[in-house]
Symmetry: C2
Subunit: 237 residues, 2 copies
């Protein structure tokens, strides 16, 4: 926490926490821009910036002449809504990670290609993420070894890997690209996830980037489709 938070983020977080707490009900009306400028003693710009962020994430919707409203069903059902890196982090804190192994010194041409290096060495972290002792997904994370060796098992025991990178090593993740596909559970995966052999699995691959578009982490996960549904919101460009 070396920098102060801009006003638009303060307003965004204020609204978000009031929506999550139920202060503003789904379908209910939010304060108008005018009211927010008065409440936070600011101008329209930061207020609109906060509201734009929430609208893009599908949290609210707005209608000229009528007002701003909370979108129905923000996360009510069993689906995980992931619209920003914040959501991935929050998901990590709401679930529990069971570490399988944590090894260093691995090499592969595929990893060289992903991280755009030559004959690199990498650290691999594998484990299962659980919700109430139910396995949600199997996770397979690769980091450049020069970064991975600075991490200890204790660092990733109670927080997501990306949070450990940010807090311990002060690496700021700026962007994440996801590829989503479907696959079948082979016998080891089936055993780990407690599903029948040859079950369908949701396969999510994530590339994490820093400020400079450097790839800093590659994660591949295999999710139980009955327990883990992926939800996203698209709006008008």
């Amino acid at each position: 926490m070396d920098t102060i938070k801009p006003i638009h983020m303060i307003i965004r977080d204020y609204l978000l926490s009031n929506i999550q707490s139920g202060e503003y009900q789904p379908g209910g009306r939010l304060p108008t821009e005018n009211e927010l400028t008065k409440k936070f003693q600011t101008s329209r710009s930061p207020v609109r910036q906060a509201l734009d962020t929430l609208r893009i994430q599908g949290v609210i919707y707005r209608h000229p002449g009528r007002g701003t409203f909370v979108s129905p069903n923000p996360g009510g059902s069993d689906a995980w809504t992931l619209t920003s890196i914040r959501d991935i982090i929050e998901q990590g804190f709401q679930t529990h990670f069971q570490l399988h192994d944590f090894t260093s010194g691995r090499t592969s041409e595929e990893l060289d290609r992903i991280f755009r290096v030559k004959k690199g060495k990498f650290t691999r972290i594998r484990g299962v993420r659980l919700l109430k002792d139910q396995p949600l997904y199997f996770l397979n994370v690769f980091l450049p070894q020069k970064i991975g060796r600075k991490l200890r098992v204790i660092d990733i025991a109670d927080c997501p890997v990306i949070v450990a990178l940010e807090k311990k090593l002060n690496i700021r993740l700026k962007k994440c690209i996801q590829n989503i596909s479907a696959t079948l559970a082979d016998p080891p995966l089936a055993r780990i996830l407690k599903v029948p052999n040859q079950s369908p699995l949701l396969s999510i691959e994530r590339f994490y980037f820093t400020d400079n578009e450097e790839t800093i982490e590659w994660a591949s996960s295999f999710c139980r489709p009955d327990l883990y549904k992926y939800r996203s919101v698209l709006s008008r460009g």
Copy 2:
């Protein structure tokens, strides 16, 4: 086209088309805010609004002090990047739809729940979307019958259903919520998609909403994971 396009959309489309045409190369630098304000004879606000939109969609990234750059690999590989409703529409135009059937008068309690009505009647459209004669996914669309009966087969022959709704019926779609999961191909689906029985399929369910958060269309699709990969971009909230 009854309304004029705001400046920020003009700028956004200008940049987008120059990126897609290769005028601005991946990793290359875009004009600065200052240059864009001069080029379009406008102030910073609409310029920033255009750039913010593109950044959220992962098309560009920005760095204080350095400039604005085109993100690498915007859609280069075989994955479909869907970050807005525009992308879904564009995907529809880049592929071909083979209609299977188009029926009206269907009822079901599940549909009543989805469209928040009581004992409603619905129109169902089913078919396959192809790329170069290869089946990408099987599509199953439901609309309220009062809307569906205004559509003719010809209306959806050469454009996506959502475009037909907008052009023919002047219904403006504002938001789309997607649920993504994985499932297995049953024999009929396997035959249609030309994959082995019990193959894994990516299952994408989409709810389309109007201005007023009214559900106007429900679409369920089953995608071949080898030909259809779903990609999305997450950024810092």
